[in-house]
Structure formats: C-alpha cells, structure tokens
C-alpha cells in the first residue's frame, strides 16, 4: 500500500489533533501541546511516532501522559502510534504557548515569568496574583504542591496561589 503525500499531511494533522486532546493530569485545563511538551509528529511509511519531552526531571506525570496518549490514539482508531521521549532540546517554561499561559492564569496558577534564564529563576520578578491582579504578592515556599510550582500569597485579596516556577 502506498500513501499519497496529501494523505500523509492529513494523517500528521490528525495525529497532532488527537495528541492535543491529552491534557496535563496535574493541571487538567492545559493541553500537552500548549504546555510545550508535544514536540513533533513523524510519519514514515506506516510508522507513526509522536515525540514528547519531559518537563521537570522528576515529573511523575510523564508516565501518565504517555499512557493517555496511547489510549487517545487507540480510541481514535489511529493505533499503533509510538510515543517516544526525547530529551533534547531541553524543555523550558518558554515552551508554554500564550494560550497555555492564559489557561494557567484562568485556572488560578500564575504563569511563569517569560525568559527562563537565571534572572527569571531568582530575580526580583513580580508575580501578579491570578485572582485579583495585584502585584503585592510574596513567596511563602519555593517548593509547592508539585515539582513545578511554588506557593505564593497575595497581600491584597489575601488568597494563597500557586506559581508555575521558571524552568
């Protein structure tokens, strides 16, 4: 069986569309595409491969994302699609799309300051409260509910909130 180039493009787009329906299990409002961990879809003959990249070294969600991808492809009748983990280039929080940053914010998680360099890691970046927008905020703990988050508090609306750490 030969696949016409047009079919190939369509298949790629379909695989990408299905892959994009998978969301982060810890933050179920953001898709893995907007989180920037869905790297590419490679189709060669009848071999389809989806490449994803880990966020934090110890992120326990990666195993689950891999199995959810496999399940999504099976449900869409696209199996077998191979899901492969690639390390290079390393993911940084700059891979999160504008849509993703908005989704994090609307979910109550302050998105990471752009530019994941060392100044953003430890600089005096102000983190606006995702609830009331106030910049009168302070960090309570550098290590929060998951590996990727820190715990902050807003002095204006008095609410604690998660901050997606720069990485």
């Amino acid at each position: 069986m030969t696949t016409a180039p047009g079919d190939l493009t369509a298949l790629c787009a379909e695989v990408r569309r299905v892959a994009s329906t998978v969301v982060d299990p810890e933050i179920p409002v953001i898709s893995i595409a907007d989180l920037g961990i869905l790297r590419e879809v490679v189709v060669a003959g009848d071999h389809v491969e989806v490449r994803i990249t880990p966020t934090y070294s110890g992120c326990p969600a990666m195993n689950m994302i891999k199995s959810e991808l496999e399940q999504a492809f099976a449900t869409a009748g696209l199996a077998p699609v191979q899901v492969r983990l690639v390390l290079s280039p390393a993911w940084t929080t700059d891979w999160i799309t504008e849509t993703g940053r908005r989704q994090l914010h609307d979910y109550g998680i302050a998105p990471p300051a752009p530019g994941g360099d060392r100044t953003a890691l430890f600089g005096t970046t102000t983190v606006p409260c995702p609830r009331c927008g106030s910049t009168d905020t302070t960090q309570l703990a550098a290590f929060g509910s998951t590996a990727c988050k820190a715990l902050w508090r807003c002095a204006t609306c008095r609410e604690p909130f998660d901050y997606f750490k720069c990485h």
Partner: protein, 258 residues
Amino acid sequence: MYTGSITVADTPLLRYVLGRADDALVLGHRLSEWCGHGPLLEEDMALSNMALDLIGQARALYTYAGEVEAAGRDEDAYAYLRDVTSYANLLLVEQPNGDFARTIVRQLLFSAFIDPYWRALMASTDPTLAAIAAKAEKESAYHLRHASEWTVRLGDGTAESHARAQRALDELWPFTGELFTMPAGERALIDAGIAIDPETLRAPWRATVTRVVERATLTLPADGWMQRGGREGRHSEHLGHLLSDLQYLQRAFPGATW
C-alpha cells in the same frame, strides 16, 4: 526467592554516567527519608520535592546508561540490582541525614558543586548529557538557594542551631575533597569534551560555600585529610544499609510491578 546482582561493563562512559546517576539516586533517597518527618510542613514538602528532582535526574541518567551499555537493561536494573561495590557515588551523598542541620549542610556542600557542574556540562559534546544537564542545572539552582538560606538561618540563629550547623560542617568537611577527584578513565572523556574537569570548579565551589558560611557566622573548617573511595566503589557502611532499604522489594519479588 532472591534476585542476584548484575555486573555492568566497565567502560569509561558507562562508569561516568552511572557515577552521576548514583550521586543523584543516593542523595534523592536520603532526602526522601525526610518525607513525613520534616521539622515543619513546608520543609517536608521542600525536601520531598528535591528528592523527586534528584530521583528524576537519576532516572534519565540510568536510562542513558542503558543505551550506552546496550545490554538491554533499563533504569531499574541499575538502581535495584547492583551491589554496593558497583555504586560509584560520592561518599558525601550517602552520609546519614542526622539532624536537619546536617541534612542542610550536606545539601549545601553538594549543591554548590553540582550546580556549576551541570551548567558546564550543558556544553558537553554528548547531546544526551547536555540535555540532562540543562534540566538538572535549574533544579540544582533551586536546591542551592534553599540550602544556602537555611544554612544562614541555622548558623545565624540560636546558640543551639549554630552549634549543630557548625558540627555538621566540621563532620562533613572531610568528604568534600572527593568532589574534585577523577576516577581513571575520566580524563579521556574530559579531553573529548564529554565530561568536564571537576578541578575547574574547586575555586567557584569554595567561593560559594565561603560566602554562605560567613553569612551564617560559621567557621570554615581547615582542609585536613580527605576521605575518598566512593567513585571506586569503596563505601562507608551507610550505603549498604541504604541499599538494603532501596533494593529490598525488587530483590525479594523480582520484576514486581504495580
């Protein structure tokens, strides 16, 4: 039932990758021992988070070791099925947690070394090591900051916390010389741009540690005789106890999954 140990190939690159992985796994395991025992809830979470970072780094490195050795072994085989003499971690990271001050000082001494180490390794000619380093470098930067802040807080705190931090520094200092040692075979990796020379980090490491120790009103110990042997598989008795805890399940129930 009992699963016997594996013997891994002795090539410079494999040995190097396993050494870095062992450092991360053993220190990660030590920090995980604090889970549920932290002095306060936030610290319980911080230490557990750092353990997660380190064990994650170890997983990536063990997986790469599997590719390098090409003997069909996965990350679990290296972590669970090697005996104590096959482990190549630094003696510093296997030292028991002791009190909170001792854990923090151990974390400071290691992080002040490994953070610039990963940063330099991002330029490795080995793309997998460079990618692992790019991730680990940011994580270790958080660890260094955490350990530095706590060292200052403890050293410049009460008479009791000061005494405990100073005792920890004095007792752990003889394990810092090994940070800069290089096992046989590593020179070739350095010349090939794969690994970096730890000696180049001695001055920056000392500058970081000195700055924190001085702010903490502690006294930097004098450089005396330094312990070594971890990189060559000669460990303190503590590692054997740690591994018996870490490896028990896979040894008793081979291949167990859940």
